[in-house]
């Protein structure tokens, strides 16, 4: 199988994660998996026709859009790897500002004949092309990437992860009676109890499973890098109400108080999904 690895606007962390798979990576590379195009590893300058294209990063510039359309036309299967490709990712936080203003402030003149024109917003790739599989995560864990790719290469549908991170977290949910919420650095977390019932704003109850819950296991709150779980995928305006409800139930703080606390930090659950979606219709394609 001929494979392309494409980087659009991103941090390159998803391909790094793929390379962290150790022996599983060697296994996949020794099988029917030939990387023929990848500016990071291979010297080929033109995008070839392939069976599988792995795309990390979202669409920030006109050049990104042109490239992703070319890649789609030349690939049989297209996998959007990582939350930037699937939902816009961290870079989409830039959508709160006007890019033009941002550039005027930073660079006196930019020569657009040499640099690609910026788009008004950061978009996930599904706004421009059809995506066969979405694999969100910042970055997705190495084993998740390898397992999914193995299935795809052998012509099977990868295992889907539909539920929330809480199902993979060992912490016990015991409703508490707290008087306020806490920041991550404000106090040490109890190693056994659910982080939300200790007053931390953990997004595990909204976020798609499949990562193995490394962050809450380590005592760090889940910050939602796998994007919303299946039931919440199309009702993003309800994410907020849902979170308020969960936090209130587990901490014993009234909903109105929780709302007040959450309002102070507008980015709390948009950190990775502050983008504009179109054509993100196929739920069954999210791995």
């Amino acid at each position: 199988m001929k494979v392309n690895i494409i980087s659009l606007t991103c941090c390159a962390g998803c391909v790094s994660s793929f390379l962290n798979a150790g022996d599983a990576l060697l296994e996949i590379l020794s099988g029917d998996f030939e990387i023929v195009y990848s500016p990071t590893f291979v010297d080929l300058k033109e995008v070839p026709e392939v069976d599988l294209a792995i795309v990390e990063g979202g669409v920030r510039t006109e050049a990104d859009e042109k490239l992703i359309k070319e890649v789609r036309a030349k690939s049989r299967i297209l996998v959007a790897l990582g939350i930037c490709a699937t939902h816009g990712g961290i870079t989409s936080l830039g959508n709160i500002l006007s890019v033009k203003k941002l550039l005027e402030k930073e660079y006196f003149v930019l020569d657009t004949s040499k640099l690609p024109e910026l788009k008004d917003l950061m978009y996930p790739v599904c706004n421009f092309v059809d995506v066969d599989y979405y694999l969100p995560g910042c970055p997705p864990m190495p084993f998740l990437i390898v397992h999914s790719l193995k299935s795809i290469v052998s012509g099977k549908t990868p295992i889907r992860h539909q539920s929330v991170v809480c199902t993979e977290c060992y912490r016990k949910i015991i409703p508490a009676k707290l008087d306020r919420l806490y920041g991550i650095y404000e106090k040490e977390a109890d190693p056994q109890l659910c982080l939300v019932s200790q007053g931390f704003i953990c997004l595990g109850s909204l976020t798609r499973e499949g990562c193995g819950a490394p962050c809450p296991r380590a005592g760090f709150t889940c910050f939602g890098c796998r994007g919303p779980a299946d039931p919440l995928l199309y009702r993003s305006r309800d994410l907020y109400a849902f979170l308020v409800n969960v936090i209130s139930k587990r901490t014993g703080i009234s909903e109105s108080e929780v709302k007040k606390e959450l309002y102070r930090n507008p980015f709390i659950f948009h950190t990775f999904i502050f983008s504009k979606f179109e054509r993100f219709k196929a739920r069954e394609r999210v791995i």
Binding site: D23, R60, G94, Y107, Y185, F220
Partner: protein
């Protein structure tokens, strides 16, 4: 008679991030200018304004998935600078171990996956074959060793940082989780093998280097100032003073991290999204300075670990100090790697590493703080100004690739001038240019976090018409 006037290489390959090179020819067909530029931009400096301080480290980590650990640690150190927090010795050791792991996973990737194909294959080899995957097909052991070495790095990141990319356990005040004894023993066992692989990589690197040295010298040098962290003239990554040396190798200045921003100025050009950083005292362009592996070798006189110190001495004997040849970055990177493996083993041998006092309570307040570390590509600095309510008021990041940006451009132009005379392009231009860029291992992701970068080579005439893209 008309000459080709602009040459473009796009995208530049085997480099992290999207880059592009343009070479401009004058009316006689000689090189008048050459640029290496970034065509990517993301805008971190803007959208992080007013962000809560506690969310900064893990968001800023997303600037770069390749050197994320260095970013997290610099970020946390900057916040601790504002708060006036003193972390425990255990936390300091664990953070240093994380930085070593970052160097190991990055440098093993750069050496085996990006650089090695240049030395492994002859210049005549088809470009579609000049890559690690072809090497792995021809000699599977190389691939196995590369992956084993990288896995040592990622296992440390996983055990101590709790995620391999974008670590989460490092927070202001220390680390959330102590290291378990079982994990320490497992990692210590792995470190032996890692040191052995690195020794082999060094031998292989030196052998290939020796063979190509004549060509390498021709690839040019760029005589500039050098800057790196130093602890009593020994290689250091986590803490300590910053030293700048002049063209003769004498110390021009040495200062604490808090004063870093007073020594560095930035400049932007209309043709690239990546800014240029230079020494304020000398101005532009006299103050062009380089950071990274060669800088670490030039600035420091010794390494605290045995084998790395021996290699460093040999390096200095052979190439002088300061050593200028650009492609020595590739050699120096292997000495870095040796040091990182030995230092990681040394840290892991210490049973005190598993002490549970990894965290102190922080007292949030407003003010200004700077965090400086040696990232894989050189000195990395984060400066934050926080409000009293704990929100980000201002941020300034000086990224290694921004510092090296000027030297990279000078090198690209030199290479272009060597290969292009009166409109005649000698074969090997593309490869040479990419090799000098690759030597710096530039991370366009980091340099262009502000908005999105791409690397390409274009040839235009002095009127700006595009002639050819390579």
């Amino acid at each position: 008679m008309s000459y080709k006037k602009e040459i473009t290489i796009s995208p530049t390959t085997r480099i992290e991030g999207h880059g592009k090179v343009t070479i401009v020819l004058d009316a006689f067909g000689n090189v008048s200018d050459a640029h290496f530029y970034a065509t990517e931009i993301r805008g971190f400096d803007y959208f992080l304004k007013e962000m809560e301080a506690e969310r900064l480290p893990f968001i800023i980590s997303r600037i770069c998935g390749v050197c994320s650990t260095a970013h997290v640690i610099a970020s946390v150190k900057a916040i601790e600078g504002v708060y006036g927090t003193e972390i425990t010795e255990t936390a300091r050791k664990l953070r240093e171990l994380l930085l070593m792991a970052q160097i190991i996973s990055n440098h093993s990737l750069v050496f085996f996956f990006l650089i090695l194909p240049d030395f492994w294959f002859s210049l005549e080899e088809e470009s579609s074959k000049r890559n690690i995957f072809q090497i792995m097909r021809e000699k599977p052991e190389i691939g196995k060793k590369a992956i084993a070495l990288r896995t040592f790095g990622t296992r440390i990141l996983d055990a101590v940082g709790k995620r391999e990319v974008h670590v989460v356990s490092v927070i202001p005040g220390g680390l959330i989780n102590p290291l378990k004894e079982r994990e320490r023993e497992e990692l210590l066992k792995m470190s032996e093998n890692a040191c052995a692989i690195t020794r082999e990589a060094l031998e292989l690197g030196k052998e290939l280097f020796e063979k190509n040295w004549a060509d390498f010298r021709k690839a040019g040098d760029c005589r500039t100032y050098y800057m790196a962290l130093t602890k009593d003239s020994a290689i250091e990554f986590y803490d300590s003073k910053i030293r700048i040396i002049n063209l003769e190798g004498e110390t021009m200045s040495e200062f604490a991290a808090q004063d870093y921003m007073e020594h560095i100025e930035e400049k932007s050009y209309e043709w690239t999204f990546a800014k240029f950083a230079y020494l304020k005292a000398l101005g532009w362009p006299k103050g062009i300075v380089q950071v990274g592996p060669t800088a670490r070798m030039n600035v420091n006189k010794r390494a605290t670990t045995e084998l790395a110190n021996k290699e460093l001495e040999e390096f200095k004997r052979r190439f002088g100090s300061p050593a200028y040849a650009t492609l020595l970055f590739d050699y120096a990177r292997l000495i870095d790697l040796m040091y990182a493996c030995e230092r990681a083993r040394e840290l892991l041998e210490d049973e005190g590493l598993t002490r549970t006092d990894t965290r102190v309570k922080v007292k949030p307040k407003g003010g200004r703080g700077i965090g400086v570390v040696e990232a894989p590509r050189g000195t990395l600095a984060h400066e934050y100004v926080l409000t009293r309510s704990g929100h980000l008021k201002n941020m300034r990041l000086i990224i290694p690739t921004q510092v090296n940006n000027a030297a990279i451009n000078v090198n690209v132009k030199d290479a272009a001038m060597e290969f292009i005379h009166y409109g005649e392009i000698k074969p090997g231009l593309l490869n040479r240019i990419e090799m000098v860029i690759r030597a710096y291992d530039p991370c366009i992701k980091c340099a262009t976090r502000r908005v999105n970068e791409d690397l390409r080579v274009e040839i235009t005439n002095s009127e700006g018409e595009l002639i050819r893209t390579l």
